[in-house]
């Protein structure tokens, strides 16, 4: 009986030793795992009332979840919590990046916006994901819609000079005549637009809120419609408002592209590969009522989409 007791005691001790080691090992692993998890935590910052940003952020979160990366969605007006535990930020829109900057956070940030000049902490590692499609895509769309649209006008302000420059470079490659008209202030828009109308068959819009916003868009579209000149829009909302067509990035495409950039960031030793990124994937939409009224025969949206997908090397 005594031998049995001793054997039992010896076994228990071994058990406890093993358990203790095992626990230590578990704790260590968990800790490592936790740290790794913390090292792969993403904060997605959006504006509360923006539908586009909501949709994009949801797609980002789903994609990151599939890649086992934690993420949390934060609203720009609630960005006052200590956030050092997040490895990287995705700030969608101007409001988000401004609030991020004001918060003094120094983490790397993927800024989803067309405005690459937005104020950003100079110590932060920054990468931009543009929302608009590459200008060559928009010019190619113009070619596909109507080959007789040989002269294209672009209205640009100081803040959209880069976009206008990119358009001109693409126009040279595609042999399209593009005239850029300078808009000095919002009061000038109508008179500049009337000059553009007199020389061009179609207007290509750039995503410049000082020119195209919900307050100026009525005047712009009514003036163009009365002059029977179509405009190519840069967003689905613009096409619904009255642009004849547009190629743009859907919230889903933005979300997927942003998520993949973040995944690449982690795989690349927490470095963004490129400073400027374009979205992968695009959507074509046409406004047939407007086209019919302007007597423009538009190809089917599916045909335009597939032809644009064949564009290479631009």
């Amino acid at each position: 009986m005594d031998v049995m007791k001793v054997k039992h005691v010896v076994n228990l001790k071994a058990f406890f030793k093993l358990s203790f080691v095992w626990a230590l090992l578990c704790m260590f692993s968990l800790n490592v795992f936790a740290q790794e998890k913390a090292a792969q935590s993403v904060a997605i910052v959006i504006s509360k009332n923006n539908n586009f940003q909501h949709q994009s952020s949801k797609v980002i979160q789903d994609e990151l979840h599939d890649a086992n990366i934690d993420s949390v969605i934060l609203y720009s007006d609630e960005l006052d919590v200590a956030l050092e535990s997040h490895t990287v930020f995705v700030a969608i829109g101007e409001k988000s990046i401004h609030r991020y900057t004001e918060s003094g956070i120094n983490s790397p940030v993927l800024h989803v916006s067309n405005n690459t000049d937005a104020t950003i902490n100079h110590n932060a590692k920054v990468s931009h994901l543009l929302i608009s499609q590459h200008p060559c895509m928009q010019l190619k769309l113009i070619n596909l819609l109507n080959s007789e649209w040989e002269s294209v006008a672009v209205l640009a302000s100081h803040s959209s000079l880069k976009q206008a420059s990119n358009i001109v470079q693409c126009a040279i490659k595609l042999n399209i005549n593009v005239l850029v008209y300078s808009v000095e202030n919002s009061v000038d828009i109508t008179s500049v637009l009337e000059k553009a109308i007199s020389t061009s068959k179609v207007i290509l819009s750039v995503a410049d809120p000082s020119i195209y916003n919900r307050y100026t868009i009525k005047n712009i579209l009514l003036t163009l419609f009365r002059s029977r000149v179509p405009v190519i829009g840069f967003s689905e909302s613009f096409v619904d408002a009255g642009a004849i067509a547009g190629v743009f990035t859907s919230p889903g495409d933005i979300g997927k592209t942003a998520a993949h950039l973040v995944i690449d960031f982690f795989e690349n030793s927490k470095q963004f590969k490129d400073t400027i990124n374009y979205p992968v994937g695009f959507t074509v939409k046409t406004n047939r009522r407007v086209a019919q009224s302007l007597e423009v025969d538009l190809p089917d949206e599916e045909d335009i989409q597939s032809e644009l997908e064949e564009v290479e090397g631009l």
Binding site: N51, N114, S182, V187, N213, R214, Y215, I217, G242, E295
Partner: protein
Amino acid sequence: MSMNKRTIFSVLGLACMVINHPVVASSTSEDSLLDFPVVLSANVIAKNPTKTPLALSIIDKKMIEASGARTIPDALRLIPGIVVGHSVNEFGDKPLIVVSYHGHSDQFSKRMNVLIDGRSIYDPLLGGVNWYNIPIVLGDIERIEVTHGPNASTYGSNSFQAVINIITRHASEDKGHMVKAKLGNHSIIDTTYRYADAIDDLDYRFTLSTVNDDGQDRKGGGDAFDDVSAGIFDYRLDYQYDNQNKLTYTGSYGKTDQNTEATLRPDTQPKLPQRVISDTSAHQLVRWDSTINSQQSFVLKYFYNYLNEVDAFNSLPIDLSLVNAGLAGYDDLVLPINKSFESQRHNIEFTHFINTDDQMNFTWGISKQNDSVDSSHYLYPTNKISRDTYRLFGDVIWDINSKHRIDLGLLVEKTDSNQSDVSPRFSYFYHFEKNHYLRIGVSKAVRTPFIFEQSGQISFSATLTDSDGVFADLPAVDYVYADENNLEPEKITSLELGYSGSFFQDALSVDARLFQDELEDLIHSPFVATTAPENVNGLAFIFDNLYATTTRGVEVELDLMLNNVTRFIVNTSLVDITSNDNPVNSDFEESAPKKSFSILAMHDFNDIYTASIGFYYIGDMSFTDVNNTNSTGLINTGIIRKLDLRVARDFRVGNETLSAAVVLQNLLGEYGDYDAIPNSPEPIVVQNLNAFIEVKMKFR
């Protein structure tokens, strides 16, 4: 242009922009880029000028400015088939600007519909429009659309010979302050102040304006007593409730004082003195545009028009012995006359637009309109009449394929004084080549008699005295406009063959039409015998459906743009009116010029100077209420040749714009365009040189 040159110009252009570009302040954040309201909804894009069911002429803002027009009728001269006259007549009626399309018009121009932003403004009592009293300034007009022919299913009641639709600018356009002044001969002093701005999604504009001039001169010299002094206040608010819903609210208040000449009629008729007639007008309009989805939208609209005219005076003394020999012993009679009246119109309308697919578009709607008039002078003895009109209308556009389109329209209208009337319309389009269309159309419409035509009655009575102070209980003078309870609506059937096309990459656009209009049951009021005991001389004006005519002709419009700096607008019209009555009624046959022509040339000198010159030729004609009593018949206006010139310069003052213009009208000499002295071919008043300068400043 070769690619190298294109490259160079593109790069240079961009370089210039970079070098010269000032700092631009963003007005809103990028976050709003993806959130735009629907602007070009189904009802906005419903009208395609090249595919309207009837010929449509457009006078745009630039044409209005270049023409040097001071009034809307001045600008309407650019439309083929339209004639403008200035009535200072022998009846002592209020001087009016008369706009007539294809003749058949007296001073009231009652055979066309005039609308401002879809609100009809014709007067329910007498018909027609007092163009001096329209509460809108030319600078707030975006364009004027003139439909040639009847289009009741689209524009509603009274869209008979033509429709003039004046469209004002959206309140979001022309932000900031604008001050304008015009000074010239004929005591021309016009001033305008406008301010427009926005608060979030609310755009607003208000305008204050005064108009003053001394009217026309008498033939032979001297100023006619037809001065005009008017002041108006009007406003427009456009509120974008959300991306699908928009509200528009407009209102106005205007007061016009017009001097009126004395009667020049024979002594056997009541004579009216010189006097001042005051008109007060106001309106309210509320409109809700809603986009249901990408295929449907609707418009719900309510408007209220108010017009009050004050015209009370004593007649000039009447020698009763000339009226009736039996009254020779009585003293000359002075009649107290009060021609004042008040009219009101309420209208509510719902229109639904449906695009089922690329091939079919439907529009349908209902409306109710109430017109009421209060006048002890024109509506004796009831003094007040109210009339309801109900309308049901619809339109179907079927694009059979890219070459063929059919457009069907229908209006069913009922007033509480009439049976129902149906006005159908059919048009077929053949798109035989890119930018070229043929159009064949037939349309019918009716013109419901105005309240005065239907129910008007004018009666004068007075107590007679003689040298002994003896009173007689006989009515002294009684002109009765007897109502005819079986007065039928006038009818028009219009046939049209039209062509519309553009050439040289849209530099030249051409619109031409052949037409034939059959007008029946035309209402006229001859001075005829009556046995009514109230009439001391046994004569009265009586409205009746008396006449029928056929109008045939051709109209052509050309619009040529050269190098984006020079533009020519040329219009010509050949019209022949044939009376279908026996004996022939020459009143209508000579009521439109057989030939008319206009050309407006505009040139832009380096964005600094602009110049325009307009020439108008109007063949002889005479309005239907112009009479003379000699044996030769009607007196014509004679051939009118008119030349106008405008030169303007723009100045840049900092960020603001200042412009100055000199306008000279009627450079080819004086002419009379409406009336004549009885028994003489000479006009009472003449249009002669108008010269004025205009200064305009816009600032924020």
